[in-house]
């Protein structure tokens, strides 16, 4: 029988460490995907990922609801926005850039990499460059617009769920979404079908 999010959280509060692990596994991939697209960096995303679950752990007893997903993404959004503010103030970038290119991390940090087993290297290069352009287009969006489009488009949350995560009305979410899309339409690359 699949345990509900709430029961897992309650078990965790009572000291059941496996319950928290199950929660992390249940939402880990989607949360990491969200944070990676928000930050454009796998390393930063992992840091924020840990910070998010740390806050979940610390604030577990304040959770009121049945599904943890919106609450989790709301915490992650706040963590990501805080991190973004601090980064913009300090203008600091990854120190590991260029040092550790394993697992495609360099790609996420801005470098264009080509898979070794790529059939057509030139096509792979073009595709990698286009991915980088998309990533940069997303990074140029204001944080709240970026959060909105990542939650709605990539994480496939409904606008109502996004509104819950962002702590605003559905109308505001749609406005943010439209503005983000309008900006992206100017910056996204034209991709030909044979590449995709």
């Amino acid at each position: 029988m699949v345990k509900t999010d709430k029961s897992l959280l309650e078990a965790h509060i009572k000291g059941d460490t496996t319950a928290f692990a199950e929660l992390v596994r249940r939402y880990g991939d989607s949360l990491l995907g969200y944070l990676t697209r928000m930050t454009g960096s796998r390393e930063q995303a992992e840091d924020l990922f840990q910070e998010t679950f740390k806050r979940v752990h610390e604030k577990a007893d304040t959770f009121r609801g049945s599904r943890i997903k919106s609450w989790l993404f709301a915490i992650a959004t706040n963590v990501a926005i805080d991190g973004s503010r601090r980064r913009s103030r300090l203008q600091v970038v990854s120190l590991n850039q260029g040092l550790d290119c394993a697992d495609g991390k360099c790609e996420e940090l801005g470098a264009v990499t080509v898979a070794r087993n790529s059939c057509d290297p030139s096509q792979a290069v073009v595709r990698a460059e286009q991915k980088e352009q998309v990533r940069q287009a997303l990074e140029l969006l204001p944080t709240r617009q970026r959060a909105t489009i990542v939650l709605a488009y990539y994480q496939q949350l409904s606008y109502a769920e996004v509104a819950k995560v962002m702590g605003c009305s559905i109308g505001t979410v749609k406005t943010q979404m439209y503005r983000a899309l309008r900006a992206l339409a100017q910056r996204l690359p034209d991709i030909s079908e044979n590449v995709i």
């Binding site: 840091d47 610390e58 991915k131 998309v134």
Partner: protein
């Protein structure tokens, strides 16, 4: 619906942003309008690029286990935020200040002296740690503002806790004994860096190499490290520091502190970060060394001739200039004389830790003042030894001494005590002073070199006989003055630049044209003789005979000695003169004449030069 759909309407339709009614209207229009359908397809292709980032992202088991492990730790006491009235804030502030004062008074009885280094096991009580952290946080914010402005080059320590989200778990790992330090350095994103304002540099030593516009800077700073991984950030904006020369060494607990790497982050200019793995937490003295350009020094000298011009007083100065972009306060300054092979010998020089004597020995200088050396609390020598620093500390007016040491092919001058050398400022310091240096005042006349004028020279030797010879004399400008009258007024005699004068070497200072001594050569007679003809009756050899009169006038009140050099343009010559002469080289002869004050003299000589086959006749005659 009239006309065509706008891009906004198409976007709202594609992403279901419009109301249901509006969505229906747009769908209806699209069924009928091929152009709008095409426009929509174009938009869809555009936004299809977003799917390039739709790859699956998996949280690794390692990441999940780290998160779960962190959750296993006890939950930190939560700070409950609430809106508070202003009077409550004031009351809380008073209470906080009172508590701090009370705690500090209580601790005064227990603590005899502050520890420089905290051992990992000696964790402070939680309340005290919180206060420390609060102060650090305030300083951090202050510093972050400065960083954003990018104004002042300085050092920062960026601190990490390990494992989960660095910044927030600092309090938990700070100074706690027994925690294992991860072997892998943590990733350092901006979000996780905490910056702490460091104290100013405690000591700084400058070794200025003029020959290469290079200065070796050695700074000592007390850095507050945390057990675990630390980032030390060094910024050199608006300075001339060579970042590739940066080096960092702990001066204490070296076996417990491992400096792993120096990273120059991409896209950030004029900034480097050291990754430090520390097994101890607390203040640790560090030495940071680097090279910078823009600091320079030059020597110059002032000589004062005695009235009889037989002795001279010589004062040597150095002027240290700073255009490096950085202020160096109370810097111990050392000057390198001579040309240094930068690649090899700077490294040797950098190993010289002690400028004067070995530390650990209490010394007294000539004036009886104690020199000072410094050791940190645990007895580890930090390698700085200052002679005469009291000159600054106690405001004495005693002139500072510049000490000199030989370093194989070059020479090290150390300025006594410390000097503050601000950016864009220069400072003149007395290097040496020597009295009663015997000098030879000499005039020279050589048309081929200086034209038809006599030049004045002052000659002496850098040896003990001339009250010098302690050190080489660096190259620099010399200005010579003479006593103008009995009241001590000086008149400028002349100036020149001197090259590096090694010990026991003689030097002649060219003071320029002599206005009071005149030399006037006059050609009295010229004739040719002793022609030799070959078989075809062509001239194959001859002699040229010139008779010269050289008038010398000394209008000075002092006797003078003058050297007159005459050149003949050939090595085949003979001469008859009314005074002795010296064959200076193959083509020149030299007369030395002493003249009494306000007197004249004349040299008469006849020189015969041999040309063509006559050169051979001279050779045979000489044989």
């Amino acid at each position: 619906m009239k006309g065509h759909l706008t891009e906004q309407e198409l976007i709202e339709y594609q992403f279901k942003l419009a109301s249901d009614i509006r969505m229906g209207e747009i769908a209806g229009h699209l069924e009928d309008c091929a152009r709008c359908r095409e426009h929509l397809q174009k938009l869809q292709r555009k936004f299809a690029a977003l799917d390039l980032l739709r790859e699956d992202i998996k949280a690794s088991e390692d990441l999940i286990s780290r998160v779960v492990e962190q959750a296993g730790k006890p939950v930190q006491a939560r700070i409950v935020r609430f809106r508070k009235p202003a009077w409550l804030s004031a009351a809380a502030a008073v209470l906080l200040v009172g508590s701090v004062l009370l705690i500090s008074n209580l601790r005064k009885d227990k603590v005899e002296s502050p520890e420089i280094l905290k051992e990992p096991g000696s964790a402070a009580p939680v309340g005290e740690m919180r206060l420390e952290r609060k102060v650090e946080t305030l300083l951090t914010e202050d510093w972050e503002t400065k960083v954003a402005m990018g104004t002042k080059p300085s050092l920062q320590v960026a601190k990490y806790s390990e494992g989960i989200t660095k910044g927030l778990s600092d309090l938990e790992t700070w100074g706690i004994a027994g925690d294992k330090i991860s072997e892998q350095p943590p990733f350092a994103p901006a979000s996780a860096i905490e910056l702490v304002v460091l104290p100013r540099r405690d000591k700084v030593q400058l070794t200025i190499y003029n020959s290469a516009d290079l200065t070796l800077v050695r700074e000592r700073r007390n850095l507050t490290l945390k057990k675990g991984w630390n980032w030390l950030q060094f910024m050199w904006a608006n300075t001339l520091i060579d970042p590739t020369s940066l080096s960092l060494e702990p001066l204490a607990q070296a076996d417990k502190i491992d400096i792993q790497q120096l990273v120059f982050p991409a896209r950030l200019r004029e900034l480097g970060r050291w990754l430090i793995r520390s097994e101890v937490g607390g203040q640790v003295p560090f030495e940071i060394t680097y090279f910078t350009s823009g600091l320079n020094w030059r020597a110059f000298y002032m000589g004062t001739l005695a009235e009889d011009e037989k002795t001279m007083q010589l004062q040597g100065y150095v002027r240290v200039g700073n255009n490096s972009g950085e202020d160096y306060e109370k810097a111990q300054t050392r000057l390198i004389v001579g040309k240094v092979h930068i690649l090899d010998q700077i490294a040797e020089l950098a190993k010289r830790r002690y400028a004067y004597n070995r530390p650990g020995i209490r010394l007294e200088d000539e004036s009886g003042r104690a020199t000072w050396d410094m050791k940190i609390a645990n007895g580890v020598d930090i390698g700085y030894h200052f002679a005469g620093f009291a000159g600054d500390a106690f405001g004495e007016l005693r002139r500072k001494e510049i000490r000199k040491e030989g370093l194989s092919e070059y020479f090290l001058y150390s300025i006594e005590g410390t000097e503050t050398i601000s950016d864009k400022w220069g400072k003149r310091l007395l290097s040496f002073e020597a009295e009663d240096i015997k000098v030879k005042s000499l005039y020279k006349y050589d048309e081929e070199r200086w034209g038809q004028q006599a030049l004045r020279f002052v000659a002496f030797a850098n040896d003990e006989e001339h009250n010098l010879g302690q050190t080489p004399i660096p190259n620099g400008q010399v200005k010579i003055y003479s006593q103008a009258d009995a009241e001590g007024y000086l008149s400028f005699v002349g100036g020149t630049s001197v090259k590096y004068i090694p010990v026991n070497e003689e030097v002649e200072l060219n003071l320029g044209p002599a206005r009071l001594v005149k030399v006037e050569p006059i050609l009295m007679d010229f004739k040719t003789d002793n022609y030799v003809y070959d078989r075809k009756k062509n001239i194959s050899g001859w002699d040229e005979i010139r008779t010269w009169k050289i008038k010398i006038t000394n209008t000075r009140n002092l006797p003078i000695e003058i050297e007159i050099t005459r050149g003949f343009g050939t090595a085949y010559w003979t001469m008859q003169a009314n005074i002795p002469y010296e064959k200076y080289d193959a083509t020149h002869a030299r007369f030395e004449v002493n003249l009494e004050p306000r007197s004249k003299d004349t040299i008469d000589y006849t020189v015969t030069t041999y040309h063509g086959v006559r050169e051979e006749s001279l050779t045979r005659t000489e044989k």
